[in-house]
Every structure is written in C-alpha cells, then in structure tokens.
Amino acid sequence: MNETASKLLIIIGVLVTLLTLSALLIWLERRLLGFWQERYGPNRVGPFGLLQVVADMIKIFMKEDWVPPFADKVVFVIAPAVIIVTILMSFAVVPFTPSIVVADLNVGLLFFLAMSSLSAYSVVLAGWASNNKYSLLGGLRASAQMLSYEVFMGLSLMGVVMLAGSFSLQDIVKAQQGVWFCIPQILGFVIFLIAGLAETKRIPFDIPEAEAELVAGFHTEYSGMKFGMFFVGEYLGVILISAMITVLFFGGWQGPWLPPVVWFSIKTFLFICLFILLRAALPRLRFDQLMGFGWKVMLPLALVNLAVTGALVLVGHPLE
C-alpha cells in the first residue's frame, strides 16, 4: 500500500512538474529568442514577465473552442489529445533520479520509440480531420517527415543499447558511470539530436506547420484549448527529447557533488536552450531537402555508426 502511494505521488509529481514546465517553456523560449535577437521578449506581466504564461493560459481558456462544421468531428477532437497522451506516456520511462521513475521497463527505450512513432498520428489525423487543403498538406508532410526520421532515430540509439547491453533507461544511465556515451557515440548523439528536432517538428524541421507557406499547417483550423494542446505538446516534446539526450548520451542523473535531480535538470535545461538557439539561428528546410537529407545522409551515417559500434563491441567483449 505504501509503495502504491509513493508510486502515485511520483506519477502526480511528474505530471504536474511537466505541465508547469512546458507552460513556462513558452515564456523561456520567447525570452531567449528575444535576447538572441537583441530585444527583451515578454517582460511586462509579473516579475521578468513570468506571469505572461498565466495571461496566455487565461486567454486560451477563454477563447471559443470551435469545431468546424466541415471537419471530421471525432477525429478532430481526438488528434490533439493523442500528442499529449503519447508524450506524457513517454515520460513514464525517463529516469529522473535513481528512485524517481514511473516505470522502469526492461524495454524502456523501445517504449519511447513506440510512443514517439504514435505521436505522428496526432499531426496526421489533425491535418486530415480539419478537411482543409493547407492542413492536409501539413499532415502529409508530417507523416512523411516523422516516418523517415523515426527510422534513423531508432538506429542511432542502437549504438547506445549495444554499449549498455540493455534497453532499460536506468541501466543505460548506470552504464555511463565512467564515461558518458556522448564520447564513444558522438555520431549517434548528433544523429539523435537532428532526428529529435524533426520529431518535435521544430525549426529547422517545422515544414508540417510552416507558417509562411501553409498558414499553420496541421493546426490551421484549431482554436482555443485544442490549439493549446498542440502548443503544449510541442514544448513537452522539446522537454522529452532533451531529457532523452541527457539520459542516453550525457549520463542522465550522474554527476559529482550535487543531488541527481539537480544534475538531470541542469543537463536537460541546457539542451532545451540549445533547441531554442537552433530555432533562433537556422532557416526552415525545403521539403525535398529534408527528405533527401534524411534518407541520403542521416540513414547511411546511422548505419555506419551502428556497424562500427557493433564491431568495436564485438572486439572488446567477444561472445560470452
């Protein structure tokens, strides 16, 4: 009973923290983008503009939640829920500290990949259900993009799995006791970073929503809290990918002196900032560039990384 209670506490704590953080990330992104563009960003509501998030929340809750009459109503409503659910589910396997983890599955990494592949549906279905040309184009682009980048996202992680000898994220973190995997798996890290950018549909890979050409792509027809779900989903995705990079390549909660949860937060925060920096610095790719880059550059690189890692592991530890 006591164990169940602590488990429940962890689940609720993780949920509340994540949702608060993803809302705060909206503020953080706008502030950081401002600093990198030599302006201030939101600094009016509350100290440092922190309450801007609250103001935005109030606004988005008050807005009319409109379902277009030409939309496929059920799918239209389900789509934004799918993205939130799948990303929050992925957080279940992320080890924040040695003790704070919702479910330490022995196939944790695969679970993460499975959930991220399911989150593609959210965008695809939103685009289709809106019954709008721009949305459909956004949905089509999203499905092609997510499908291609998922392939080598998975492959880039297999090197880590080989080195750690386990799919469990907790074991992967423990395997990085001596040296973080970003050193032997530098190629895998770069590939995963790029694939993660594509999975979260952020600049430079934001062609599914491409404001300049597709209005807002898959969420053109969404308003009110349904739009808010996509919005929060994007930031949850950023947190998730940053957390996964930390866990897989940068030793997770490991680090000297400070408690594990602080180390985990610092590392994740740095990667979130990197994501925002990339948004500030890079232009959007064209669709054929994106697909060509994925299949012709990243996939071969991931395969080479996999083969070399496999060979080295085999030389280092011959079959038992």
Partner: protein, 171 residues
Amino acid sequence: MLKLLKGIWLVFLHAFTRPVTVQYPEEKPYLPPRWRGRIILSRDPDGEERCVGCYLCSVACPVGCIALQATEDEHGRRYPAWFRINFSRCIFCGYCEEACPTYAIQLTTDFEMSEHDRRNLVYEKEHLLISGTGKYPGYNFYRVSGVRIGGKDKGEAEHEASPTDLRSLMP
C-alpha cells in the same frame, strides 16, 4: 556544415549584446517639434481665437474628417461656431495645417489618444481649442492683415500703408 555552426555561434553571441528595444511607456522617445500628432486650435497672443472659419482646412482634408460652421461676432470678426475633427478618420497628413492662413490649426507631438469607444475620438471645439499660441508665439492674424474688423480699420495693421484716398489728387 561549418557555416551552420558559425551562424549558430554568432546568434549565441548576441545574448551578450544590449537589447535595442526602447521600453516605451517608461522611456519616451524624442519627438521633433514638427511631429504630426493630435490636432489643436490655437489662440493669438491676445487670447482670441485664431480660427477665422475660412473652411480651407476642411477642403484640404483628404479624408474629410474636419467639419465646422463659421459665424461672426458683433465686431465683424469671424470665428467657428462649432469645430469638429473626427480622429478615427484623421490620417495626420498635416494638410490642414499647411492650408490654414492664420496658423490656427496646428499638429502637436501628442500621439497617445487611444480610446475604448470609437465615438470618443470625435473631438469638439472645446476639446480642440487650447489657451496658448502653439508653434507661433507672436503671430496675430488681424494685426498683420488688411482685414477690417471692429476697432481696427484698414491701414491700421502693422507695416501697412493707409489705403489710397481716391478723391485726393495728391500722389
């Protein structure tokens, strides 16, 4: 690839430069005196209205936002009975100021005139008329022009010769 990284690094370096933003409500920008902002009606140094109700501003206005009705007082001096500017139509082009022969209508450096209700943007004469002379402190139209009004006959203005006496043979 290297170019991309260089670009990212350059953007990152911008984190250490000062923002160029002017924090507007606290930090007001400098506005030159000839700034075209809210329109006012000025008075001459004697405290009388400068406007003579000639309708030139109303005619010059490209959007037709100025309306007035001219009348005369007991001395024969013209003035507007009412004067109305609809600032929700005004484009602040300054043509009315250029057209005005008496420097009565002037544009000022005030631009903070937003309202919650659009009807509040229709300014009547009592809102427009100020007690000062505006941009032209010493100017008094009736003192420099040849117009005759009560208390001032022809030829009595500054730098004005007396009118030629047609019945006199003297040069």
